[in-house]
């Protein structure tokens, strides 16, 4: 074994009775890209937090270039040349790029010499082919650019081993290729990269080797070249998963259930976010909405569910103009269900028990209440039934929902929003942060709802998901729908042009 690079031997970590990591071995030679695959809760993030000094392992050792090291704190990790890029970017948005890079940099004395650091930073950025303005405030930058700031932050600290935790989860699809290219450049410069992901195509595109974690142990360690992605998926979840195309029948009905005409709305900053959006959804049809995040998708979902006041246009449900209805009326009398993007903030009350989160949509109705009184016992029974049928894994329905994994939380939200038998189901980014198994469960639920004849609006930035479940795909750009096409006609060029804002006529 060559000594250059990183070696983990028999790393274990226990939280209470839970074995998060159990004897993990891994070797990462210098100058390679190493992917770590695993479902949520497989121990990927725990392992990386150990490497970065945020947790101490209960057993095993870490060798860097052949020498055993104890990594007691993030500061120690940085001294050893380990830099970490967290899933949620660790940037202070109100500060400039160079201020973020300099933050916490040791040995600065008492004067903050931003101009000098900005010069060095620009030179460093150029040497990796990154183009960046050091004095720009971070909140003004697109996500892909912010991620480069994070990478520059660790490079500026002379990191040789860079850990990236789910780096593409914050990126728009169009930014992913540029990001992967950046990784290749870093590898060419001799940096070692550990790349945590559950997106198989990205792993296949950029990694040299992959370690697959399952329930805290290494289930496979293999070279990426010559391993088909479906094989990796199987090792990750321990069974076969449907990867792309899901079985579905053609739409059952020609009845137009939802008719949106010229819908307009402003965002929280007062900018025109929806500039006149029109579309129809038939009963039993899934209309996908694709596009780069922040092009009016959130405002569209909110305007449909009544959370945001529309400025103009009409929303019709089965021929009834419901534009003036409030949230309560829309949800209960009209039967509009909503799976929001922000599970933690909007979809759930994290500190309430599971059964109360289950009743939170329809708590004023039977069986959750009778008259003015809530009925906890029957709510528990309903929740237990849902938990069984939607395969939500938990200890008890009295557990705070905070302690469930993201996938299980999402399954409960889906149960709640679907079991009330809605007419229109609005879904926003349902698979964000979920692993392959949970994504499959979500899509099965969506397709079952379609069979039932619900009109479904499926908003996502994951083009692949949209193409695999939707009957038609609307592409949004800058508050308008630039085109609505069938998934079979959706070539990358065509979708790319629509996402980029070229309207259909101009494409053709």
């Amino acid at each position: 074994m060559t000594a250059q690079g990183l070696r983990l031997e028999k790393i274990s970590k226990t939280f209470g009775d839970f074995k998060a990591l159990d004897g993990v071995d891994m070797t990462v030679p210098r100058g390679t890209v190493h992917a770590i695959l695993g479902e949520n809760g497989a121990g990927k993030t725990t392992l990386m937090n150990i490497l970065y000094g945020l947790y101490q392992p209960d057993g095993g050792r870490i060798l860097i270039d052949g020498a055993p090291q104890r990594i007691t704190s993030p500061r120690r990790a940085m001294e050893l040349g380990i830099g970490m890029i967290h899933q949620h970017l660790m940037l202070v948005e109100t500060l400039t790029v160079v201020e973020n890079v300099v933050l916490g940099l040791p040995g600065q004395g008492m004067r903050l010499s931003l101009a000098e650091h900005a010069r060095k930073l620009e030179a460093l950025a150029k040497s990796f082919g990154f183009d960046i303005d050091p004095h720009q405030e971070v909140w003004k930058l697109p996500m892909g650019m912010r991620q480069r700031v994070e990478i520059l932050k660790v490079l500026y600290r002379d990191a040789n081993l860079i850990i990236l935790d789910e780096p593409t989860s914050v990126l728009a699809p169009s930014e992913v290729e540029g990001f992967l290219e950046g990784l290749r450049r870093l590898r060419a410069a001799g940096k070692t990269i550990i790349f945590i992901s559950h997106k198989l195509d990205e792993v296949a595109a950029v990694a040299d080797r992959v370690t697959v974690l399952r329930r805290g142990t290494v289930s496979a360690d293999l070279a990426v070249a010559g391993t088909p992605p479906s094989e990796m998926a199987r090792m990750m979840v321990g069974r076969d998963v449907v990867l792309t195309t899901l079985e579905k029948t053609s739409p059952t009905s020609d009845e137009v259930l939802v008719r949106i005409r010229d819908l307009k709305a402003r965002d929280n900053r007062g900018n025109q976010a929806l500039k006149g959006v029109s579309f129809d959804i038939r009963a039993g049809e899934i209309l996908g909405v694709a596009g780069v995040d922040g092009n009016g998708q959130a405002e569209l979902a909110e305007a449909l569910t009544g959370l945001r006041q529309a400025e103009g246009g009409t929303v019709e449900l089965s021929g009834e103009d419901v534009s003036a209805a409030g949230v309560y009326e829309r949800r209960h009398r009209l039967g509009i269900s909503f799976v929001p993007e922000d599970r933690h903030g909007t979809g759930l009350v994290l500190d309430l028990p599971v059964y109360q989160n289950a009743m939170i949509r329809d708590f004023r109705e039977s069986p959750f209440s009778s008259g003015p009184m809530l009925r906890a016992a029957s709510a528990r029974k309903v929740a237990e039934d849902w938990v069984k049928r939607y395969d939500v894994r938990l200890q008890s329905v009295d557990q705070a929902i905070r302690f469930l994994s993201g996938g299980n939380q999402q399954k409960l939200i889906f149960a709640r929003e679907v079991e009330c038998r809605p007419r229109l189901l609005v879904i926003m980014q349902p698979c964000k942060g979920l692993d392959v198994g949970a994504i499959e469960a979500v899509h099965r639920t969506v397709l079952a709802e379609r069979e039932r004849g619900t009109a479904i609006l499926y908003i996502s930035t994951e083009l692949e998901h949209i193409l695999s479940v939707c009957d038609r795909v609307a592409v949004m750009c800058a508050g308008r729908i630039t085109g609505i096409i069938a998934p079979e006609e959706a070539t990358p060029e065509r979708i790319g042009a629509l996402i980029g804002g070229l309207e259909e006529e101009k494409v053709a």
């Binding site: 945020l54 704190s73 993030p74 500061r75 940085m78 970490m84 967290h86 949620h88 660790m90 940037l91 202070v92 948005e93 109100t94 500060l95 201020e99 973020n100 300099v102 933050l103 916490g104 940099l105 040791p106 600065q108 004395g109 008492m110 004067r111 903050l112 932050k153 933690h344 994290l350 905070r402």
Partner: protein, 312 residues
């Protein structure tokens, strides 16, 4: 009225503004520091009162204003340690902790003042005398107002640019600003969030305490119960009006002091109008100012929340 009379009346007026603003400026700078680090320091009122009490006790026991200053700073620092321990260390709600401290300090200082100062409570304590700065103090109007002041007022002049320099021109200030907005970013690059916050809170309380020292050692030379009289709350309003920027906060403090001086003058000149009407002026002014200028303020994002590593 003669021209000379006019000038002396103006000097008088602006001296009053400066006199009224000094304790608020100290406290508000303290507020900026704590809030920039993400901690509400609602206890500024208590810090002013505690500083005033400490100053009176020190001056009484040691017989010198410097002794008073040292005691005042120590007492305020002790309040800061309590706030830091409870709000930063234990993560108890910052507002509740701050309010509890205010009530505690009000009772404690009243009690201790009777115990320590006793019958001497109304006798004049030793204080700082004004020091005229040569040349500068002979500039007409400006000189007598700005440069014939006591040492603590000069310290206030220094404290404003110093706070600004600290926040925007030093790495420590960068740490503070980062922690107030997104503490986890600072934590991941090895800056101790509780450490920085504790230091900021204690310094913040000491600054509030300096305001109290000024009241006792430079203005009235006695300690009276609840002598802070809402100055800490006005300082908090000035922090918001000045958008957490020391320079603007200074301007906001001057504005509040100006309206207070104006109402005193109006009261004095219009004895036939009920004085309660004029007493409202500063509060109306602060309402109007907050509504007019503070509509789009963006406070430090992480303010009021305790920081838990790995918390969701």
């Amino acid at each position: 009225m003669s021209w000379a009379g006019d000038v002396s009346s103006l000097v008088d007026f602006f001296s009053t503004v400066l006199r009224l603003s000094t304790p608020i400026v100290f406290a508000a700078l303290g507020g900026v520091l704590a809030e920039r680090a993400g901690v509400f320091n609602v206890s500024l009122e208590g810090c002013i009162l505690g500083g005033a009490f400490g100053a009176a006790t020190g001056a009484y026991l040691l017989g010198t204003p410097v002794g008073g200053l040292v005691f005042g700073i120590l007492f305020a620092a002790a309040i800061g340690c309590v706030l830091a321990g409870l709000a930063v260390g234990l993560g108890i709600n910052q507002l509740v902790t701050g309010i509890a401290i205010n009530i505690l300090v009000l009772g404690l200082t009243s009690y201790l003042a009777r115990l320590i100062l006793g019958a001497d409570a109304t006798s004049t304590l030793p204080g700082f005398a004004p020091v005229a700065i040569p040349l500068l103090s002979s500039i007409p109007l400006i000189g007598p107002v700005l440069f014939n002041q006591d040492p603590l007022a000069y310290l206030m002049y220094l404290a404003v640019p110093l706070s600004y320099w600290f926040l925007y021109r030093t790495p420590w200030g960068l740490n503070v600003r980062a922690i107030g907005d997104y503490p986890v970013a600072a934590d991941t690059v090895g800056v101790s969030v509780p450490g920085v916050r504790a230091i900021c809170v204690i310094t913040s309380c000491v600054l509030g305490g300096l305001g109290g020292c000024y009241l006792v050692l430079c203005q009235v030379f006695v300690f009276t119960e609840n002598m802070s009289a809402g100055k800490g709350w006005i300082a908090l309003a000035a922090v918001i009006l000045g958008r957490w920027n020391p320079a603007l906060v200074f301007v906001a403090c001057i504005f509040f002091a100006f309206s207070e001086a104006l109402q005193l003058r109006l009261q004095f000149n219009n004895p036939d109008v009920p004085y309660q009407l004029f007493s409202m002026v500063p509060f109306l002014a602060s309402f109007v100012a907050l509504v007019a200028f503070a509509g789009r303020v963006r406070p430090p994002a992480a303010i009021g929340t305790k920081y838990v590593r790995g918390g969701k």
